[in-house]
Amino acid sequence: MNRILKSRLFWPIVTLAALLVLNVIVEPQFFSIRLQDGHLFGSVIDILRNGAPTVLVALGMTLVIATRGIDLSVGAIVAICGALACSMIASSPRPGAVSTVLLAVGASLVLAIVLGLWNGLLVSVIGIQPIIATLILMTAGRGLAMLITQGQIITVNSAPYKVIGGGYWLALPASILIAAAMFAITAVLTRKTALGMLIESVGINPDASRLAGVRSRSIIWTVYVFSAVCAGIAGLMISSNVTAADANNAGLWIELDAILAVVIGGTSLMGGRYSLIGTLVGAFIIQTLTTTVYTVGIPPEVTLVFKAIVVIAVCLLQSPAMQARIRNLRRRRALAAQEGVAA
């Protein structure tokens, strides 16, 4: 029991469960999933599908935060990659061809890698604080995206492209499958190689890691590239879902949602031990919150206030100061119990 309570996932999971229970109470149909035209539908599927881009971005963000960094530029990268892919498809003579789409997707991801390399360069080689280094691309990136779209909202009419964000495969939305695949790849990439351990080591104690011969520079560079690639895929997904690239609004505030998902999931902004599962739970909490607001019948305009309150609550519960207070309280109660037994 104590171990469960101590787990960093305890409060996030309780929060998610509470939200789900709340939904079921208000709407008993909440968990029902129906099959229609070979596609699955239902509230849970909606949460998963709408949460997919946040999950993707949060995955990359988790690794960045584990190295004591932060990546504010992911929203801009989302916009840039969506813009590039859509403008390439829209300007191609055969927008519906699979080859066109593959080319556009490939080019966007290469661009994402370049942007990640840029962030990594600023952070690990030039030594600029992560928050500032990525603020630069956050600011300039929206401009770049608009440069690509020439300030227009580019709509694309391409069936293969639509699949990424709006299509179905094996009865499930493709976006869920893509996010799941990326989650699996991330888990394998970090836990089946030594990357995860070295990332944590650099995040927990950079000096000790240096003395142990860890190549912090290349590790930090890697996580920024990975974060950018995740954001790039999310950008493709978002633009595909709405069949348009909106340089202004695509991925707006997604960096904040992603950071929140990571923090709620129990990974400290101070770096170190990270939990991909925690991030997943965190992202779902954020998405479920939005859904809950609708199902419970809270006016949608209150969503943000609700979100702010949950964020504050989870952050306060996890803050070291609060944890210490809770520990003290428990110790005192245990002592009182012992004395009671002794008496």
């Binding site: 990357l195 944590e200 890691s209 003395l211 011969g213 890697t222």
Partner: protein
Amino acid sequence: MNQPQPVIQMTGITISFPGVKALDSVDFRMFPGEVHSLMGENGAGKSTLIKALTGVYQADSGTVLLDGKPLAISGPARAQDAGISTVYQEVNLLANLSVAENIMLGREPRKGLGIDWKATRAQAAELLAGLSLDIDPASLLGSHSLAIQQLVAIARSIGVQAKVLILDEPTSSLDSDEVAELFRVIRRLKKSGVAILFVSHFLEQVYEISDRLTVLRNGQLVGEYLTDEILRIELVHKMIGKEVEVLEGLGHKSRTSVEASDDVPFVQAVGLGRKGSLAPIDLTVYEGEVVGMAGLLGSGRTELARLLSGADHADSGELRITGKQARLRTPRGALKRRIAYSSENRKTEGIVDDLSVRDNIVLALQADRGWFRRIPKKRQDELATSYIKALNIRPANPDALVKNLSGGNQQKVLLARWLAVAPRLLILDEPTRGSDVGAKAEIQKLVIELAENGMSVLFISAELEEVLRLSHRIVVMRDREKVADIENDDVTLGQIMTLIASGAEE
């Protein structure tokens, strides 16, 4: 009874932290117009005593009298108000503000709503002039040398009508001219009746400037002495903790030199040095040899280890590894040449506290292989369990987080990490500090075994017995220089202490 009343009289000061008694009923006093040195090795309780005096820590028990009147030091501000000022080791001033502000901030003269800068600068200039310092009060503090910053810090502290001025390691980063300047200022202050508490690792300086000494060891008071009446060798004994007679009689296992298998040493440093931390030094370590390094804290022992391991860059001299010249730019480069360095700062430069015992053990080996080629899980477990068994690490659980282990066991985990990379030279800086007797003996035994198997070991420790017991050869450091390099046959503890205290020439 013509002795004046002490300005500070601390009696029976006890301070405990979870698991340790940092100060155990310590008495301490200072007289006006004297320079008083507080002596002791690491963990003796010097900094705890200073922090008790400056209000950073609250004593669990004991009393403090200031000018004969009881004083409750509830915090740093209270101590300052009472006239107890401190200049900390790392200059705790603000480099981005002006000299005048650094001296006056917190008690600047006001005009109307705001600060009267003209008067502030004038007062600062006056204080600086009082110390005969020729610097512009309007200039940025950060634009001055560390020595000047130190003097500015002193100017700040005497500004508050200081009765007691605490100088914690004020000379650790100063050159000899700068030290002379500081001493001039100290003597000037002394004349004006300020009691100065001087903490330094440099015995020369202690003997030059101080009138009285208080020696602490393991949180307990050893005694208070007049500087003129205590010989250096006696002082070193008091600090390290063995009486001369007892030690001379104590037999120790003398170890003869290794049969030099070949003439090329594994590591040879020629004139290796770094400005401001280590005078150029020669050192050789042969294969299978244990070279012990003795010297007080701050004598240059750790500095040398850092140069040999690529943790710091040398700016003079050269390093030869198996006869070939090598430039070590990073610890990674040193590890590639199979030189491993176990830092004395176990917490900040050693363990990765949130990772498991297993991860900590394989860290250096894994870093060497790169992230992509992970050491197979099975091999990791083998490594971890074999080292846990060989070094008797407790708890014997590879999944335990290192932060939950005791100090001695954390040290063993670190040893395991370095042994896992199979180094040819292992540099151990204070590997037994904070370990209990059992763990100490185990680590010592291990060092001997490793050397017998052909590994070279550079063994740095403040505990001289340990150095004597393990080493084939002993290098003695003093004031950032090598003062002796002797074969360990028939060397006595007393001889080493003499070397530490006064150098080879005396």
